[in-house]
């Protein structure tokens, strides 16, 4: 029982540290309420690499690199690193793709949703409502036997590929060759960033803490609903509280709905965007942050999911699906509806079609 209490205390402390770091990064130059946003930062990185050409959002974000490498280091030190994969990679790619479509409708991943709430952005409440509904949609399938089948141990090299790719991307950030894109000063969120050293260090710390505590935004609500297990939810709450207090101290708090930074006021689509995210992430087994951490632990399935998120981000900007401060786009709305339908179909196919086969075998 004592161990259980320590568990909870550990994730609360980690959440508090992460919350302070996240709010602090916005103070040090990152966009407002965007100290961390896995979706936005993967999108910016996709832009930096030229996978999309939306000039306001192009920057290789060291936070992402730090999270993956921090998780890699922590897993390696604790002998938890291991090459694993082979559980429905294409399904995970598609789920990652549509999770990003949902994130860019809302303008943030579940992590940024908390930070937006902690910055006083009340639009994020609509997102939170959708997020919880989406998680319950996913739980329905989990309870009825949804599974993407098991993973297997893979060749040792497999798990190193994604962390090595992150190192290469970091070298590109430092070397700044001509083929890498950087948003120009004043062009948009991509031009707003803390110094590379701060961003990388923040990412590394968050990566280590998230790996050790298994922190996951989706997992918090999911485990509470499934098992009345509150541990992960405490991490979620701790981030909110710490970021809120830090924002109040540093002057980053502004209560209201209008003129919030990198946000729009369309409640319905904020809700539906996050519904898609929550739904897809429950079927994936974790939020975008958790996927990054697991890809650092050598999980190739999560690495494929992250690639799905990155490609999703590129499509969102190439096809005009991403929202802006002015609001959602018509094409983005269609994409979110398609996304919810596709995720539901993935849920049905991997719950019921497979269940029949299993009962035949039995």
């Amino acid at each position: 029982m004592a161990e259980k209490k320590n568990d909870k205390l550990l994730i609360i402390i980690a959440g508090l540290i992460i919350g302070v770091i996240a709010a602090g990064l916005a103070f040090l130059g990152n966009p407002k309420n965007m100290g961390f946003c896995i979706a936005c930062f993967l999108r910016d990185t996709a832009g930096g690499l030229g996978l999309h050409r939306a000039a306001p959002v192009q920057y290789i974000r060291p936070e992402i690199i730090g999270i993956v490498l921090g998780a890699f280091g922590a897993a390696f030190a604790k002998k938890e690193f291991g090459s694993k994969g082979g559980s429905a990679p294409m399904t995970r790619f598609v789920l990652g793709f549509f999770a990003m479509v949902g994130c860019l409708m809302f303008l943030g991943c579940p992590f940024r949703m908390i930070l937006r709430l902690a910055g006083g952005d009340l639009n994020a409440i609509f997102g939170l409502v959708g997020f919880v509904i989406g998680i319950f949609c996913g739980i329905f399938f989990l309870k009825n036997g949804y599974s993407l089948k098991r993973t297997y141990s893979l060749t040792p090299a497999e798990g190193y590929i994604f962390p090595i790719m992150e190192v290469i991307v970091f070298v590109l950030l430092l070397a700044k060759p001509a083929f890498i894109f950087f948003s120009e000063e004043g062009a948009g969120p991509g031009a707003m960033h803390a110094a590379i050293g701060f961003s990388l260090a923040a990412g590394l710390i968050v990566g280590v803490l998230a790996q050790r505590t298994r922190l996951c935004m989706v997992g918090g609500v999911r485990d509470l609903a499934l098992f009345k297990e509150t541990r992960l939810l405490w991490g979620f709450i701790a981030i909110f509280v710490a970021a809120l207090i830090t924002n109040l101290i540093l002057g980053g708090f502004k209560l209201g709905m209008t003129e919030q930074p990198v946000a729009h006021t369309d409640g319905l689509w904020n809700c539906l965007g996050m519904l898609l995210v929550g739904f897809a992430c429950v079927l994936l087994g974790g939020c975008p942050l958790r996927q990054l951490v697991m890809s650092g632990e050598g999980n190739a399935d999560s690495a494929v999911t992250v690639l799905g998120l990155i490609v999703g981000a590129a499509f969102c900007h190439n096809f005009g699906l991403a929202s802006s401060g002015e609001g959602p786009t018509p094409a983005g709305k269609i994409a979110v509806i398609i996304g919810i339908a596709v995720v539901a179909l993935i849920g049905v196919v991997n719950t019921y079609v497979k269940a029949e086969k299993a009962s035949e075998a039995a």
């Binding site: 029982m1 259980k4 938890e80 989990l142 098991r150 298994r214 098992f227």
Partner: protein, 66 residues
Amino acid sequence: MVDARGQSCPIPVIMTKKAMKSNEDYYEVLVDSKTPCENVTRFAQSQGYKVEVEEKGGEYLLKLSR
């Protein structure tokens, strides 16, 4: 005996929960990474089971008893 090797969370916990419906005093759960090992342990303890973990070759055999 619940074989949850290769399953990612929360599925090992759901499998354990379903198995526990038969209301026996002893179960074995086999998982192959640390996170489900911790999660199943936590869940079993919340259900009033004692948990012993045996590690062998990257797999964890959890013995739940009450």
